[in-house]
Symmetry: C2
Subunit: 291 residues, 2 copies
């Protein structure tokens, strides 16, 4: 990934996909090197504020709602009793905020490796951090992989992996040892959701996730799709895995929250796979051929 | 719109949305000024060939299939008897190719204002032009608005408007006089589909289309959504209007064509509106509130 700021345009170039996305910026309002990464916040002319880590776009005010609702809500609305939820990553706290909307959730662990991301978000994206002081929320500034390994067997209902791309620090979050420890720490009926990159650019990653999640024992794996303007290709995915049983495409409940993207129709629509992706994922699960 | 080619990157900057999309290019293999516009073809490193008109990206080899299938297939697969189909614009012939797949279609008019676009596509995107010599295809190199006005009342089953953005030459295609002549020339059960810009960036255009299409007499209007990497925001829409009756969300038939994007699930999913867009479109049709 290669970033440039020239003539008031912030550009994230993805050499692998040979594509780039740019936003017109009016100011850089924060720039720090934490012990782990460079954290910057820009004011853009039309997308509100922009958060980047090591030059890679994490979120913009304008379209963050799509990502955060789609990482959190489908699993929360499908799980019969999501008492205990863990978020791995998610330092901007937008996913946490979505989870905390649910009264049924009694305990939320946010496991973010870099405390500075949370603090920067509290300062510059305070509207995402309204749940940070909720008494149900427990923040752990440590490595998500190690944290998961330390959890008791069958202790969590939902695990949301809201990570950066599978290169560098987050690479281990896409590997079997981590998936195995997630599977072990989930209760029966437990669900895991993980951001899984672009359906146009990273089909290999999505297929590999399906194969690896099944190989460690998850009984069903499905990928849901949504647009996301500020990520490469403008199209993104989350992959959801069930400890046992089949992932229902229909939500159990749709709470009356002030969603901007999610609703009952979108929940079901997100699971519709384009022809090319269905063909690819049949390699991981020949039973998904129907539909 | 502002285009630049620097250090092997083609960049389309959209000043209005303050965003830009770039592709790494290896060569420019065609550049001509037709009587109407500048037509260029680039070789990209990872997206195949790229067609631009006046510096605005029209299609790339890598993701054109999504656009062409979603402009053509939902209407073709919903209409009970699509004998006579007209395409307004669509000079790259990708939409034409999708329509020609259907044996039920007996006559196809392609009304493209710039013959040079068709000729350039035949040369550089020949895989999209396989239907150009089909005896059912009739090409008219003229203005689509005037052509529509000349059609007999109730003479067409499906009209697909595959145009450029609603600025400059294509502006009239988004106005009531054109919609009125489309409505008039459609047979009972007739359907019109028109590309309708980005749901993230151009909500005003989508709302306005709904209002204008209803005001000229269309009985139902729905917008369908799909990803499109090379268009601004990576997320695009088509708006479909029915001369009479209600647009069914379920297709009548799903033919066994070698689709890359479209299928039965995608057809239904494309009609799912995000919460924010549903709220906006309720202004045009309060009855759509349910769902």
């Amino acid at each position: 990934m290669d970033t440039s700021v020239e003539q008031n345009w912030f550009t994230e170039r993805d050499g692998l996909s040979g594509s780039a996305f740019s936003l017109e910026i009016t100011d850089r309002i924060h720039d720090e090197q934490s012990s782990l990464q460079r954290i910057e916040v820009y004011e853009t002319r039309t997308f509100g504020r922009l958060l980047t880590l090591d030059g890679v776009i994490m979120l913009s005010d304008r379209d963050q709602f799509i990502y955060h609702e789609m990482i959190a809500q489908p699993a929360l609305c499908m799980h019969p009793q999501p008492n205990h939820v863990a978020i791995i990553g998610g330092g901007d706290c937008g996913t946490l905020q979505q989870v905390a909307l649910h009264d049924r959730v009694q305990h939320i662990d946010l496991v973010e490796i870099d405390e500075r991301v949370v603090r920067v978000s509290e300062r510059f994206f305070s509207y995402l951090c309204t749940a940070n002081t909720d008494p149900r929320v427990h923040m752990h500034f440590s490595d998500g992989i190690a944290w998961c390994e330390q959890q008791a067997e069958s202790s969590l209902d939902v695990i949301l992996v809201d990570s950066t791309d599978p290169v560098g620090p987050a690479e281990g979050l896409f590997r079997e040892p981590f998936f195995r420890s997630v599977h072990r720490s989930l209760k029966p009926q437990g669900l895991m959701v993980q951001q899984s990159e672009s359906p146009l650019l990273h089909q290999d990653i999505i297929l590999q996730m399906h194969q690896r999640l099944r190989s460690v024992g998850f009984s069903d794996v499905k990928t849901l799709l949504f647009p996301l303007c500020v990520y490469p290709s403008g199209w993104w995915s989350a992959t959801i895995a069930a400890k046992d049983g089949v992932i229902p495409v229909t939500p159990l409940i749709i709470p009356d929250f002030p969603f901007h993207y999610y609703n009952n129709d979108i929940h079901q629509a997100a699971f519709a796979l384009p022809a090319f992706l269905r063909r690819i994922l049949e390699q991981a699960d020949p039973e998904q051929k129907s539909g």
